[in-house]
Each structure stands twice: as C-alpha cells, then as structure tokens.
C-alpha cells in the first residue's frame, strides 16, 4: 500500500534521522519521519517451492509475540492450583477480565464459548502493540497494515458464517437490514446503509482503527525523538527545544502504553460486539 512512498524514498535502508551531523544550525532541514520508517529489509528469505517468504523485523516481532503469549500462559497455567500464586494470579486476572468484562457483558448468553478466541486476540494484539515501546524492538507490529487486516479478516470470517448458521443464511441479512422499530418508509434509506456498514465498512474500520492508532503513535514518537536529536546545537533555543522534545518523548511513551492497552481492548470488544450481533439479532 505504500508503493508510491517506496519508490519516492531511495533505498529502504534510510536512517530515520538525517544522519549523525544533521542538527539545527548545520544547514539541513528537519528530517521529518514519514512512512519509510515502517519499511524494513528482509533479514533472510526462505524459498519454499515457488513461494518466497521474507523474514524482516516485523516477522521476527510477530514470532516473538506468539512465543511470549503462548509461553507466558503455558507457564502460568502449567500446574493450576485452587489458590493461585505468582504467574497464575496474573493469568487468571487477565482471563477473568476478558471473560467478565468483554465476553459476558457484550455477547451475553452464549458468550462463554468465545472467551478463548477473544482472550487470544486481546493478549496477542496487546503484546504486538507493546513492542512499540519495548526498548530494542521499538516497533508496534500492528502498525504494518497487513497484520491488523489479517486479524480483522479472522474476526470477519468468524462472525459472518456464525450469523448465517445461527439466524439462517437469508434471515441473517434481513435481520441486519431491517432493524425493528423504524417507520416503514425509512427502510428504503436504512436497509442499504445497514448492509454496507455491516458487511463492508465494519471489517475495514476494524482493521484501520488498530493500524492507524499504532501507526500514528509510532510516527509521533519518532518525530519527537528525531526532534530531540536534531535540536541539539550551540544555541539556547536549540537546547531548550531539545530538552522539551525529550521530555515530550518520555511522556508520549507513557501515553502510548495506555493507548496500546486501550486499542487491544477496543479491538477485542468490537470483535465481541460483532460476534454478539451474529448470535442474537436486534429485537
């Protein structure tokens, strides 16, 4: 999707800042970061028959995310005890949060079955988001558009067939298009809007919401860290600006930590809302 940006910005190995000597008074303009900070060269490629798999930083972070989530919860629940201690405590708090806070409240009756699905999504998305402020990783894997798209498609192909099974293949769409309690003539306007917004716009916004939040947050952090570096110069205003930018970077890191958890929560919450709408028609 960033095809134009790729061709515009020379090779992909651009250092995000303008170079080690690029400062306020050295005559180079502010090297504002753009979409090129989300492009990574492949570390190695894997040839499988006619398919080529490129492993970049993002792939590594994805695999690390899987290992972290699976590893932690396997460890936490390896020997479950009636009175939880240590890691099991944390794991249970997370589980109860997803079960009571998301599944039961949003889906209601029949929500129990979807707790593992939502639980996996919540923690996987959260860990991938958290890589954005983890020193060494410094890249939220969900800021690469393909990843939220894949997540949103998994959710989409869960709730649409589910609704077709629970409500009937035709009834599912008519229930969606003709919500009760609306004056009859309004359906001319309402039915197509409801259909488009539920079938087409939902998966799109579901993916874009997560992607854009992480993308914007990462770009914001990059802008202020580059500013802190760029403004270092032999001038009062430069030093003041640099210190201010650094402080803002630290503050924004804390803010990002909050946004990352919130977005993981919202992603899971919306998945639960969609599943709930498939299970019970509005009435």
């Amino acid at each position: 999707m960033f095809a134009e940006v790729v061709s515009a910005s020379a090779p992909t190995s651009v250092s995000a800042a303008g170079g080690p000597d690029c400062h306020l008074m050295s005559g180079c303009g502010f090297p504002a970061p753009g979409a090129e900070i989300f492009l990574f060269e492949d570390i190695f490629t894997l040839q499988l028959a006619s398919l080529e798999f490129g492993f970049s930083k993002v792939t590594v972070l994805l695999l690390l995310g899987v290992v972290a989530v699976v590893g932690f919860f396997t460890y936490a629940f390896r020997k479950p005890k009636l009175v939880p201690r240590g890691a099991q405590n944390i794991g249970e708090v997370g589980y109860v949060f997803v079960r009571d806070g998301i599944a039961k409240e949003t889906i209601g009756h029949g929500g129990e079955k979807f707790v593992p699905f939502l639980f996996s999504f919540f923690f996987f998305v959260w860990v991938l988001n958290f890589f954005g402020i983890l020193p060494g990783a410094q890249l939220p894997a969900t800021s690469i558009f393909a990843i939220p798209v894949a997540f949103a498609l998994i959710v989409y192909f869960t709730w649409v067939p589910l609704g077709m099974i629970k409500q009937g293949p035709i009834k599912f769409f008519t229930n969606m298009m003709f919500p009760p309690g609306v004056p009859k003539p309004m359906y001319i306007l309402l039915a197509p809007i409801e259909l488009i917004s539920n079938i087409l716009v939902r998966p799109f916004t579901h993916a874009v919401r997560l992607f854009a939040n992480m993308f914007a947050g990462h770009l914001l952090l990059a802008t202020f860290s580059i500013a802190a570096f760029y403004l270092i110069s032999a001038s009062v205003i430069g030093i003041l600006g640099s210190v201010a930018s650094f402080v803002v970077t630290v503050a924004l890191t804390g803010f990002e930590a909050f946004i990352q958890a919130l977005q993981a929560y919202i992603f899971t919450l919306l998945a639960a809302v969609y599943i709930g709408s498939a299970l019970h028609a509005e009435h």
């Binding site: 134009e4 916004t205 919401r209 993308f215 809302v273």
Partner: protein
Amino acid sequence: MSLLAELTGSIGSIGYGLAAIGPGIGIGIIFGQGVQAIARQPEAYGVIRQNMLLGFALAEALALIGFVVPFVFGA
C-alpha cells in the same frame, strides 16, 4: 480546460485538520456525557465505561482514517 484554482503544499495536513473537527466534537460529547452518567449512577460504572469506550473508538476511527489517507495516497 483551464484551471481556475489550484492547491499545492501540505494539503494532507489541512485534510487531517478538517477530518479531526467532527471526531473531536464527538469524543468530547461522548466522554462528557459518560462522566455525567457515571456521576448520576456510579453503580452502573462498568456498563457505562464499556459503551463510552466503544463510542469513543467509533468516533476516533474517522480522525484516524483522515490521518492515514494522506500517507497512503501520497502527497
């Protein structure tokens, strides 16, 4: 065809600014009303908070789409 007017420069930034107006108002209303609802009925905090965040996410998506579009479709 002759051009009557042309815009150049950071149109994407202006577009984002315009796209942020609506969601800004919307998010303000959502949290304002949400806090009011919690103040009136503190025992319903869980349900109110959940719906507040849901509404916030839906409104915020518009601003974020406005933010991303200039990057995607180029300057």
